[in-house]
Amino acid sequence: MAVEGLERIVRDHPFFKGLDESFLELVCGCAQNVRFEAGAYLFREGGPADQLYLIREGRVALEIAAPGSGAVTFQTVSEGEIVGISWLFPPYRWTYDARAMERVRAIGMDATCLRTKCEADHDLGYDVMKRLVPILFQRLQATRLQVLDIYGKPAA
């Protein structure tokens, strides 16, 4: 795909919405189009966290294998959202599985490339961090609700 097309896709994805033009070229240098068929894994728990995925189409199940229960899906992620945060912090290992529930098209960002550029240009790093932190916060809030099991049976 032409670089211009990739830039347009990245610019239009909600995660990078409003990204300064000067950063766009830097970010796109780490990006490529990827596709996963239904059932394929974007990554597996324990593997190297080397990608950030911007989902363009399809739905991804984030799963953890629970003893005796098989894979338990704790979140699904769809078009306009991102998959993969573990690439931000050492030891850069995935802490869950990500499985394509249907055909998934995404932009895969090379995490090492992105981290390096963020380190080299802290303005870019700060911008990326400001985009990631609200997502982390939303997921933390969601996890709190799930842990509380609010739909579970109340005390009689």
């Binding site: 098989g70 894979a71 338990v72 899906t73 699904t76 799930q146 609010i150 739909y151």
Partner: protein, 278 residues
């Protein structure tokens, strides 16, 4: 407010179970028929149901207010009374007082975009409002039903939710807190569904019903996308006994949930939701 059919609101009338249906684990829907007059109700109101020999419990009406064919309640077995009610079968008798309380502000929804945010068994008190919205669909703007529950097995009124989903004039999204690989739908908390719907926040009214924690997260999420506090209504749950604001069991600071609620406008109770003592 529609007045109870009985002249004395403390005297239950005897009802007979005409239909009993398992809707989810420990959740039964009972269709009740009166021996005398059928009580009329508005969406969001509740009745006090008596399991004879066990006790009385406040249960929201979950049926169609326009049907005129019995009165429907959806009950989750969580205590002695509710368990006894869910064990009733066709032909059994129970007591009913009501309807009581202030329901959903249906007339206020005319011309507005409407979001129904339901969690778990909270879909039941919203269902009468959904029937009304669908029956008068042309009178409202965009209508979205966002429903979150614990797991796919806990989805309430499943076939009905699927039929609503097939309509082209209602946006229906369902999510569960966790699922196995056989579930192909959304997993995550109900507030994550908000970005999936189109609405004009300034002319939106949201009706929320579910666990109080879910509703607190719900109003935060709605507020963050511009829905004003006075555009959100919550159905509150407290221990209701008399149903007419006399006994004080359900006192909610200056209000009684049974008489002044259970549906409250958010800006009028916002300060109360933060009080742990309530």
């Amino acid at each position: 407010m529609v007045q109870p059919a009985s002249h004395d609101p403390m005297v239950p009338q005897v009802m007979r179970v005409a239909q009993a249906q398992l809707d989810a684990p420990d959740v039964f829907t009972l269709k009740l028929e009166p021996e005398a007059d059928l009580p009329r109700f508005t969406p969001g109101q509740f009745n006090m149901l008596t399991a004879f020999g066990v006790g009385e419990s406040a249960i929201s009406v979950s049926g169609d207010p326009a049907s005129g064919d019995g009165i429907v309640h959806t009950i989750r077995a969580v205590g002695a009374v509710s368990r006894a009610l869910t064990e009733l079968r066709v032909g059994d008798s129970l007591g009913l007082r009501g309807p009581f309380g202030v329901g959903w502000p249906m007339e206020e929804l005319y011309g507005k975009d409407v979001i129904l945010l339901a969690g778990g068994i909270g879909l039941a008190p919203l269902r009468p409002a959904i029937y009304r919205l669908l029956a008068e669909r042309e009178r409202f703007g965009a209508v979205a039903i966002l429903y979150g529950t614990r797991s796919p097995a806990d989805i309430l009124f499943r076939s009905e939710v699927e039929s609503w989903r097939q309509r082209l004039d209602v946006d229906v999204h369902v999510t569960v807190d966790h699922a196995d690989e056989s579930w192909h739908g959304q997993v995550g908390v109900v507030t994550t569904l908000l970005p999936r719907i189109a609405f004009d926040p300034g002319r939106t009214v949201a009706l929320l019903c579910g666990p109080e924690i879910m509703m607190r997260f719900g109003v935060q999420a709605l507020g963050s996308v511009g829905v004003p506090d006075e555009g959100m209504y919550l159905s509150m749950e407290r221990s209701m006994k008399c149903g007419i604001g006399l006994c004080g069991h359900c006192q909610f600071s200056p209000a009684f949930v049974c008489k002044d609620g259970p549906v409250f406008r958010y800006d009028q109770i916002r300060y109360l939701l933060a009080l742990k003592e309530l």
